[in-house]
């Protein structure tokens, strides 16, 4: 097990280094870093100072080294607009995005797995057809359109839920989140649904396919021949097998949810990193964009790592290090 963890850790670090190289090359080597990283209204003295501090006058490999060194120390440059370290800016906004993404994910799983089970256990029934049709809508209607419809129906027409902002924050066990106040929850519902509809459809389909593929297998029949109840067969024997592909895909999708939060956060004016990214692009605040890329990639890597660990916990065949 620990061999497995260490190996995955090494791989993660390698990916991170490669990403840093690509971002570095994109900004420093292909583009003009002076143009990219120094504000247009900076004075010549300021320019000279930044050029010196970033080492832009030195050879490329030295610059990369400096870039990595600074990044390791949490220095990813300063925002032009806020005049703050970009990393501070991102970490201020990250909790809002994580809150949104995780709520969306929980929603997609909590609803998607049961619906997928219902569908898969009674294929081609009326319920199954209804669920499948719904999931096709979830797949095919663009996210921003779904978002606008949600706002129109629940905020404009019915007036039940607010459509912008994060609402009041509460604090529980030292964590600040809008999950802990009623107002915060109200603000969270629509954007979370918007963000999760696509994933919900995906979870439903994955679960349904998994059930359909697993139910005819010999071990299910053998479990029945042992006299195991149908409930235990579905929720233990079958579900545990389905969790394997589900976790793989969800792990990958969690990353894309973080990235897609850009659209949802823009529609619902949710103050997360997605909105920060869009605002920064609009205001040509390039250091923020660079930092965003690195942080997102790091998160991707972190999630993948967590998924691999989870995967090995669920699927005994993956625990490579534990036998020989």
């Amino acid at each position: 097990m620990s061999v497995f963890v260490i190996r995955r850790l090494m791989q993660s670090i390698a990916v991170l280094v490669v990403t840093a190289l690509i971002v570095f090359l994109g900004v420093y080597a292909i583009g003009d870093p002076i143009e990219m990283l120094i504000s247009h209204d900076a004075s010549p003295a300021e320019r000279a100072q930044v050029i010196l501090s970033l080492g832009l006058d030195r050879p490329l490999w030295q610059q990369f080294f400096t870039f990595c060194w600074n990044a390791l120390h949490g220095d990813l440059g300063r925002s032009f607009v806020f005049n703050k370290p970009t990393i501070t800016l991102i970490f201020e906004r990250l909790p809002a995005t994580l809150e949104l993404t995780l709520t969306g994910l929980v929603f997609a799983l909590a609803l998607g797995i049961p619906l997928g089970l219902i569908s898969g256990l009674k294929p081609n029934s009326v319920t199954d057809e209804a669920i499948m049709t719904g999931s096709i809508l979830g797949f095919s209607l663009p996210g921003f359109w779904q978002g606008m419809m949600l706002i129109m129906i629940f905020s404009v027409w019915l007036g039940w839920l607010p459509s912008t902002g994060r609402g009041e924050m509460g604090s529980f066990l030292g964590i600040h989140s809008s999950l802990f106040t009623l107002d915060g929850l109200k603000h969270l519902i629509l954007p979370a649904i918007n963000l999760s509809l696509f994933k919900l459809s995906l979870v439903i389909r994955l679960t349904r396919t998994g059930v359909r593929e697993t139910m005819p297998l010999d071990f299910v029949k053998f479990a029945r021949a042992k006299g195991i109840s149908e409930r235990r067969i579905v929720f233990v024997h079958v579900l545990k097998n389905i969790l394997i592909p589900l976790i793989t895909v969800i792990g990958m999708e969690l990353g894309s949810m973080l990235a897609f939060a850009v659209v949802t956060e823009t529609i619902f004016a949710w103050p997360g990193i997605g909105k920060l990214l869009i605002d920064s692009i609009m205001r040509l605040d390039r250091p923020v964009v660079v930092a965003y890329l690195l942080v997102i990639v790091s998160l991707f890597i972190l999630i993948n790592f967590a998924v691999d660990i989870l995967y090995s916990l669920i699927d005994p065949r993956v625990r490579l290090g534990d036998q020989s």
Partner: protein, 324 residues
């Protein structure tokens, strides 16, 4: 005469399909006596497995038992509600499947899969269930059973997995075990070990055994009585030694001439000509008609069951018996 363990009368199990009804089991009657080992032999697709599944009420939809009676220790099993059926499965009638690689759930430990079988029928503590599982593993010759309970199926060889399946079948000391080609997927030495083991255990626990196989040689070594199945019907049955010495039905003769060990040295093996008929397009009358070298016009009408002492067959022109 004592009551048979199992008394099957006129059992028919059909699969309605778009292209017609598949009569997988077609008017089958047989009995299994107390402590008796019965071999059920036939080519692939002849309906052996479906016969076994019919007894346990495990025929996959759309297939179902359309008529006939299955009496187990005097109790009618057809039409029994699922809940009542479940108290018999694994407890009083156990089944072992063909492919040991597929019968155990890959993501649950062997212990979990055994303990759940104990708990499905007996109201005992987990610790006691575990102890019983451990003893059962020891009984089938698995070394260090206590540790092996925590292992997963992929950590066992094929032969060991089949032993685990047998141990699971033995957990409740059933009155009847249906073994569906449990050694077919194993190599020859392991096959004979397992055969020997099962015979010993069946004897030790006074269990009746239905041994399904396409290999007449295996059945000869194991069974008291043999039933030969062809195209959903039992075409010949009787005490093993008697049937092998004086086969009546041309199909049985054909099966025997295809066993290497049964053919005298120097004489060629004679595989049965032609192929088993498609279950949707069986010849009228005797289904073996178009592969049979003794067939005459009368064979286009269904042959009735002939009985002579302990023997029975369905054929208009049985070998030897006519002359005798």
């Amino acid at each position: 005469m004592t009551q048979p363990v199992l008394d099957v009368r006129n059992l028919s199990t059909h699969f309605p399909t778009r292209r017609g009804v598949i009569k997988a089991v077609d008017d089958v009657s047989f009995q299994v006596g107390q402590r008796e080992i019965v071999g059920l032999v036939g080519e692939s697709g002849s309906g052996k497995s479906i016969t076994g599944f019919s007894i346990l009420g495990l025929v996959d939809p759309p297939g179902r038992v359309v008529s006939g009676s299955i009496r187990f220790q005097g109790e009618e099993l057809t039409g029994l509600p699922q809940k009542a059926m479940r108290t018999i499965r694994g407890k009083r009638i156990a089944m072992i499947f063909q492919d040991p690689m597929m019968t155990l759930n890959p993501v649950l430990s062997v212990g979990t899969q055994m303990i759940e079988t104990v708990l499905a029928h007996d109201n005992v503590s987990r610790a006691e269930a575990r102890a019983r599982s451990r003893d059962a593993l020891g009984l089938v010759g698995i070394p260090s059973p206590d540790e092996r309970l925590d292992a997963y199926p992929h950590q066992f060889s094929g032969g060991m997995r089949q032993r685990v399946a047998i141990a699971i079948a033995l957990l409740h000391r059933p009155e009847l075990i249906i073994a569906d080609e449990p050694t077919t997927a194993l190599d020859v030495t392991i096959q004979s070990q397992i055969l020997f083991e099962i015979k010993r255990l069946a004897n030790e626990f006074s269990m009746a055994l239905i041994w399904i196989s396409h290999d007449l040689g295996v059945v000869a070594a194991l069974a008291d009585r043999v039933m030969v199945m062809y195209a959903g019907k039992i075409v010949e049955a009787g005490p093993v030694d008697d049937v092998l010495a004086r086969p009546a039905h041309p199909y049985t003769v054909g099966l025997m001439q295809a066993i290497p060990a049964a053919v005298p040295r120097g004489e060629p093996l004679k595989p049965i000509p032609g192929m088993a008929p498609s279950p949707l397009a069986r010849p009228s009358g005797c289904a073996f008609r178009d592969r049979c070298d003794r067939a005459t016009d009368i064979c286009a009408t269904p042959p009735a069951l002939d009985l002579s002492e302990a023997r029975e067959w369905r054929c208009f022109h049985p070998k030897e018996w006519r002359a005798a």
